[in-house]
C-alpha cells in the first residue's frame, strides 16, 4: 500500500486550495484582495495551484499612492507575467484633497480609513471607478464593470493579532461591510457559509490557519517570487510587514534570503515583537486594527 505522507504545510496547502475552489464555485462575482505582501502573494500562488496554473479570479489592489514604489512595480510585473486580471481602486478625492497623513491634516487612523477602508468598500461595491490592466496595452484602463463583488478573498491569518483569530473561513459582512464578531455562523467540518442574502457579501480567508513561519516555509519550498523589500539588501534592514511608506518602518535584520528569514523567525529573536510592529496605525489607539477591521479594513 502506497502511503501519501502529508506534512503540516501540505495540509495547509490542501485546505487553502479547497477553500479557494469552494469560493470559485459558489460566488459568481468573486475577487481576491492582493496587498502585494507576502501573505496575499502566497494566496495568489495557492490560486495558481488550485486552478492548475490559471488565476480565474480578478485581483483587487487598493492603491493609496503612498505605497513603497517597489510594491507597485512588482505588482504590475507579476500581473503581466502571470496574466492576471488585475484591478486597482483608490480614494481619488481624499488623495487630491490631501485628507491624508502626514502631509494632510489627519491622523494615521483617519488616513487609513480614507485611503484604505473607504476606498476598499467603494471599489468592492463598484460605486467608485475600478482600473483594469489591459494586457495588450500593458497599462490600466477604466474598468467597465461596476458589479459589486459578493465574495471577497482575503489573506488574513489567525496568528496575526487577536481579532483575526476569531475569523471564520467564510465570514459574512452586511451591506455596510461590518463584521458581527459575536454572532458568526458555525462552520461544520468542511462546509462553509456559501449562501448569502441579497445586499450582503462574504469574506473568504484561505490562509486563516497559517502562521508567519508557515508562510515563509512555503515561500521557500515553492520558490515564490516576492517583492525585494522583505529582504536585507545590504543596509542591515528589511520589512517584515508592508504598507504605506509614511507609516511603515523596516526592522533591523541581516536576513537576505528566505532561509535566513526562517532561521531568524525560528531562533525566537523576533518572537517577542509583533509582526505588525512596524505598522504605526496599529498603535494609534488602543484597538486600532480592531476598530479598522470592524469597519471593513483588511
Amino acid at each position: 500500500m502506497k502511503t501519501y505522507h502529508m506534512d503540516h504545510l501540505d495540509r495547509l496547502e490542501s485546505q487553502s486550495i479547497y477553500i479557494l475552489r469552494e469560493a470559485y464555485r459558489e460566488f459568481k462575482s468573486l475577487c481576491m484582495l492582493w496587498s502585494i505582501g507576502k501573505d496575499s502573494t502566497v494566496m495568489l500562488w495557492l490560486a495558481r495551484k488550485a486552478f492548475f496554473g490559471h488565476v480565474p479570479i480578478p485581483l483587487v489592489h487598493i492603491d493609496t499612492r503612498y505605497k513603497i514604489p517597489e510594491m507597485i512595480e512588482y505588482r504590475d510585473r507579476v500581473a503581466i507575467e502571470w496574466n492576471l486580471n488585475m484591478i486597482y481602486g483608490e480614494n481619488r478625492d481624499a488623495i487630491e484633497e490631501k485628507r491624508t497623513f502626514p502631509d494632510g491634516n489627519t491622523d494615521r487612523i483617519t488616513c487609513c480609513r480614507h485611503l484604505k477602508s473607504e476606498a476598499l468598500k467603494k471599489t468592492l461595491s463598484g460605486q467608485w471607478p475600478r482600473f483594469r490592466m489591459d494586457h495588450s496595452l500593458r497599462k490600466y484602463v477604466p474598468d467597465e464593470s461596476r458589479t459589486p463583488y459578493t465574495g471577497v478573498i482575503a489573506g488574513v491569518r489567525a496568528d496575526e493579532e487577536g481579532s483575526r483569530s476569531k475569523e471564520r473561513y467564510f465570514s459574512p459582512r452586511d451591506s455596510e461591510n461590518s463584521w458581527d464578531v459575536g454572532d458568526q455562523p458555525p462552520e461544520f467540518w468542511n462546509q462553509f457559509k456559501t449562501d448569502f442574502a441579497p445586499g450582503t457579501h462574504v469574506r473568504i480567508h484561505p490562509l486563516l490557519d497559517w502562521t508567519e513561519l508557515n508562510v515563509w516555509e512555503y515561500i521557500g519550498r515553492e520558490n515564490i517570487p516576492l517583492v525585494s523589500l522583505y529582504f536585507n539588501r545590504g543596509n542591515g534592514t528589511r520589512y517584515r510587514s508592508l504598507g504605506c511608506f509614511p507609516c511603515t518602518t523596516p526592522i533591523e535584520s541581516e536576513a537576505a534570503t528566505v532561509s535566513e528569514i526562517i532561521a531568524e523567525l525560528a531562533d525566537g529573536r523576533l518572537s517577542s515583537v509583533a509582526e505588525r510592529s512596524g505598522r504605526a496605525q496599529d498603535r494609534e489607539d488602543g484597538g486600532g486594527l480592531e476598530t479598522l477591521r470592524r469597519d471593513g479594513y483588511m
Binding site: M1, K2, T3, Y4, H5, M6, D7, H8, D10, R11, E13, S14, I17, Y18, R21, E22, Y24, R25, K28, R48, K49, A50, F51, F52, G53, H54, P56, N83, A158, D159, E161, G162, S163, S165, K166, R168, V181, G182, Q184, P185, P186, E187, F188, W189, Q191, F192, K193, D195, F196, A197, D209, N214, G268, R269, S271, S272, G286, G287, L289, E290
Partner: protein, 593 residues
Amino acid sequence: MNIVIIGHVDHGKSTVIGRLLADTGSLPEGRLESVKESCRRNAKPFEYAFLLDALKDEQSQGITIDTARCFFRSDFRDYIIIDAPGHIEFLKNMITGASRAEAALLVIDAREGIQENSKRHGHMAAMLGIRQVTVLVNKMDLVDYREEVFSDLRDEYTAYLRHLDLTPLSFIPVSARDGENIAEHSLRMPWYSGHTVLRQLDLFRSAEDASGAHFRFPVQDIYKFTGSNDDRRIVAGTVLAGSIEVGEKVVFQPSGKQSVIRSVESFNTPSKRSAGAGQAAGFTLETQLYIRPGEIMLKVSEPSCEVGSRFRANVFWLGRAPLVKGREYKLKVGTARVAVKLAEINNTLDSSDLVFSRSKQQLDCRDVGECIFETVRPVAFDTVSTNEATGRFVVVDNYEIAGGGIILENLSSGQTPLQRHISERERHWEYGLVRLPEREHANGHRAKFILFTGSRGSGKRSLAKQLEQELFSRKLHVYYLGLAALEHGLDADLGYHEDHADERLRRIGELARILTDTGLIFIAVADDADDYAIEVLRQLNAPNEVLVVAVGDHLLSRFSPDLQIPAGTDDSAAVERLNGMLATREIIADYHI
C-alpha cells in the same frame, strides 16, 4: 494537527494549554517571566492559565474570546490547539472549533468529577465524529494523587461514553498546574504507567491514515480554462480517502458514468501518476463525460458508496428557527447540494438540560435528534461508519448553516419523493370529456415529447426547429419550446442558481405532461442532459412517452438515446433520419405518401 480542548468550565483547560506551551518552549521570549513578575507584584499565586489569558488579552484587544487558536510544535509535528469555549452560549463556536479537530483532549476535574459539560462535550465529540479522545483527569494534586480517584472516574466516564458509542483512547491523570504527566512523567503517580499528554498528542493518528480506505473523491468542480489556451478538462476536488493511479477505472455516483483516469494534474510539482487521501487534486479522464459537481468519483474495483434520497441521521440543530417538517432546506453533503425535507423525527435530546424525548415534532436550537431526511433527487454519500467525511452533512436554512449531522443509514428503498409526487398528481388529474386517444385519432398522429440533447453548440437547437417546421408543413400538431423562453417567463422566479436546477427540470416535465396530453408533438432541447435528468423527465411525462435525440457526443451512460445524430451531420439528412424514426415508431404515418 488540529486538537480541540474541551470540558467543563474551570476544570483547567487553559492551564493545560498554558503548561503545554511553556513546557514545549512555544512561548514568546520572556513571556513566562513577565507573567510571573506581574503575579508577584499583585501578590497572587502564579497560574499557567494566566499565561494563556495574557496571550489572549494581548491578542484580543478587549473583545470576547471565542474559539481562539494557539500554535505549537513538538519534536514530532506542528499543532493547532483550538480552545473551545465551555459556555453553552458559545455552542456555535465550540462546534466550529471542534469540527476542525482530528482529536480532542477532554478535561475533567478530579475533585468535581463528571459535570454537565463533561457529558455534553463528550456527546458533541461523538456527534462531530472525533474518534480520538483522550480524557485528562486534572487537578490530581487536590486529591493527593490517589489512584482510586482516577480509576473510579475513568470507569464512570467510560460507561457514559459507551452510550455514545465512543471509546476514549486513553485516560491520563495530570496536574496541569504542577506539570505532572504533561510533558514529563509524574514521579508523584508511580502507579500510572501510560503516556504523558505530550506523548499522547504525538500518538494521535492524522487523516492521512485514510489512504488505506476505499477511494472517495467528491467532485468539487470541473475546470476548462479554454480562454487561456488550455484544453484540459480537469475534474477537481480533494481526495477524502484512499488513493488512485493513472489508468484506473472510475465511476461517478449518482450518475453511474464510468471512465478511466488519464492524468493527475498539478501546478509547480513534478509530474504525478497518483493521488491520495488529503490531497487537493485534479484529474483528466480518458473519455469526455458530462458530470456535475457534487458527484462522488469512486473506483470501479471497490465497493460503491450509497446512492439514495432518503436517509436516517443524527442532527445537531443550531438554527434560530426550528427544524420542521414540510419546509424545504438545502442539504450540503460532500460537495453536493440538494433540496431536502425533514420526513420524520425518531427522538430528540435537549443539549442544554440533556433531556431525552420521543414526542417532539421539531428540533429547536441546541437540540440533537435522530431524524429521517428526504432529498428531491438522489445523492451519493456514505454512512458515517463507512466513511466519516462523506457521511457528514449540513442543513442550510435561509442562507445560514443551521445544523449539521451524520448519516446512519440509507433508507432509499421504496418510492422516491418524485414517484410519490407523480402518483399524487395522477390521482388528482382532472380530465375533460375528450381523451388523448381521441385527439390522436383526430390529429392523425401520436402525441410525443421529443427531447434534443447534446453539448452546447452541437446544433441541436437548429435541428429541433427544423423538425418542427417540417412536421408543421405536413399539417401535424407540433410545437417547439425554447427553454430561454421559460427562463424569463415560467422560471422567472427561480434565478440562475444551480440549486434550482431540479425545480426547472420539474417544470419542463410538468409542461411536457400537459402538452403531450393535448395531443401535441412537443419538442424541447436541453444542454447536456444526463441520465438523471432524462429519467426525471420520463417519469414526469408519464403516462406519455419521451423520445431522446442525442446530437453530437453521446453523453448518456445508462440510457441509450432513441436516436443518435453524429456531430457534423447535414441538417436535411438529420431531419430525414428523424422522420424515419417517427415513422418506424408509428408516431406519424409513413411520410412518403
